[in-house]
Symmetry: C2
Amino acid sequence: MSEAYREMWRALDMDLEKHDVFLGGLPGAFSEVFLQQENRPARMAYFDNALAEAHGGRIKEILDQKKAGRPVAGTFCVFVPEELIFAVDGISIGLCGGAQFTVPTGEQVLPRNLCPLIKSLMGFKLDRICPYFQAVDFLIGETTCDGKKKTWEILNEYVPTYVMELPQKKTEADLTLWEGEINRLKEEIERRSGQAITAEKLAAGIKKANARRAALARLYRARQADPAPISGKDALLISQLAFFDDPERFTAQVNSLCDELEERIARGEGVARKGAPRLLVTGTPMALPYWKLHHLVETAGAVIIAEETCTGTRYFAGQVAEDGLTVEEQVKNLARRLTAINCACFTPNKERVEDILRLAREAKADGVIYFSLQFCQPFSVEGRLVEKALQEAGLPVLRLESDYSEEDAAQLKTRIDAFLEMITA
Amino acid sequence: MSEAYREMWRALDMDLEKHDVFLGGLPGAFSEVFLQQENRPARMAYFDNALAEAHGGRIKEILDQKKAGRPVAGTFCVFVPEELIFAVDGISIGLCGGAQFTVPTGEQVLPRNLCPLIKSLMGFKLDRICPYFQAVDFLIGETTCDGKKKTWEILNEYVPTYVMELPQKKTEADLTLWEGEINRLKEEIERRSGQAITAEKLAAGIKKANARRAALARLYRARQADPAPISGKDALLISQLAFFDDPERFTAQVNSLCDELEERIARGEGVARKGAPRLLVTGTPMALPYWKLHHLVETAGAVIIAEETCTGTRYFAGQVAEDGLTVEEQVKNLARRLTAINCACFTPNKERVEDILRLAREAKADGVIYFSLQFCQPFSVEGRLVEKALQEAGLPVLRLESDYSEEDAAQLKTRIDAFLEMITA
């Protein structure tokens, strides 16, 4: 593949040598984590190929569309209303970083005591090995956490970064602020695209994003079956690809996969043996290509049946009402998503505990892994309250903190094994 | 002193044994850091005594006032409008923690990867060795950083904690949000105190806080003289005591000290030799009894002539206009302080660079120490931009990160010595 796309990458001002080294490691990791699974759903083939073409075919597609005048925006948070980008026929790419490879470069401009996701995304830009970062016209950051909020100021030196102010509570005053922020983003996107966002266009954008959310919700419902018809690893990969793929094609493929999964469920067929420990993962997002935790857990014999994360249920939470007849009404509907997503960036955030308990019940979880990326203060501080609530509800919890390196893999494995032993005893 | 106050501490449900151990270490540290300085201003005697009576006489005074019906509130941030507390004749105490002693206890409920100030304040409450924490009726937290924002949820289990949402930008929409937050705090204080906040009472509260800010600003102007008439250590101690002392008495004493300092300046008399390297410190706050950095720097022969911190210039920045005739106008005036304080919690925060450059110029600084408490993400990420701007302006910068332990003292000393050598070369 590489050879066919080198010219394209060169034109994107990428560091080809470093990019070769980065890509060189991926097929082996992918094969070990994904291809060696038994009894995978046949329709995972689409997603395997989407990953293989992530730096190739998909980039070519985006560049062709960009040439045709479609704006390309990078985002880093499920709160950023992609519906506005879709409304101008734009391309929205989720650019959080999930690779240790770029962390050391990120640390050249950021403190080491910062979450690896942020250091990785900064490193991808500085290293010039992410064609998405190279292809975007601008970025849309937000103020969800201190680390990201302050990093946009530095990232803005390298690529124009517009910052939305996400409120920190969910009162009426916050909804008003957020509605204003969405209106201001709308104006920014109109300015950059040279297109007015009409009610008709925004309605189409909302439908597109809603359809993707509905497909992912359907996938999550399928995972509630016992035995689970799909591994947690595969479901995570699909979620990760949602941030990069063409939304309509992706939605159709997720629905097609769900057809297959639902047939499996009807036949009582699964990927893990019936009775394998079923775990819910909750915490910080897992950006592509971060698969470490899922791989450790499922290799140990358990199956992950849901992720209460931004690369899981929080990504598709909060369908936007489609009854808005004017842009003003539609923006109000977009703003209300604020109340439906229970991120640790809010205070208080008790609804997240309710979400976790409901998800665990629906998916018949035997236990919960509370996972925080290192130095993620919102999720690590909130962990204590969640852990207490789960213990009171009689749900075993394992708290893990990790980064993108492989150094703690053996230690994590020991703790996961002990947890599974405790659950199945 | 201890014996006379034991009964009072017992009534406050304090852990007397642990408190003895904590207090036991302070006189020695205080003597080493403060009393061994040469040529101190005579009127530091008041502040030395205020520190000595911080857990004794001052607490008795507060408890007597509390018995007389005056509400006692704890705060943690210079943005919290103490004017509203003063308006109901209440007592406002700044409760940030500055001691390593309580950090391990704080870590029982908080992640270790969190700033020592937050872990220390949490530990003071859990250890029951801070009579102020024991005496308060309620706390007023805010959303300035992730660590504090999420810690209030835990602290609220131990003492009622009301949380103000501080905006993250400084646009008109943010001023509107903040004005609403101040109004909501006003209602909370009215409810708790059983007193209506009238324009007359609030005007008095504003005058009281303005007078204290003016006195501290006068102290800072005095420090601009060369030789400096007062050490950075002494000035820091005064700032730290501002959070605990009776505001009117404190203001009078700071003004009285300034009379003495201005006479010294007229005589050309100082604490450091004329020509001693003059350093500006910028970064995170230094809560009582954190004196480590100042002690190291001034022992090495330099003098600190300003702190661009929350226990420095940010504490007294932004006098509140006294022209408000109605409560509504006064609240608007209080809200405008938002724009005058340039904390790293805002994005962007370029005005902070301007503040530092202006302060350095006014105080004839030879160099700047950029100081971050460990794991303070806003100030550590922002450090890069500040450092670049200062270097462009030709001002030498030393970046230091530390915590409350003494473990890195030798390493810090080496770096400070090298920096001073470079400056004076």
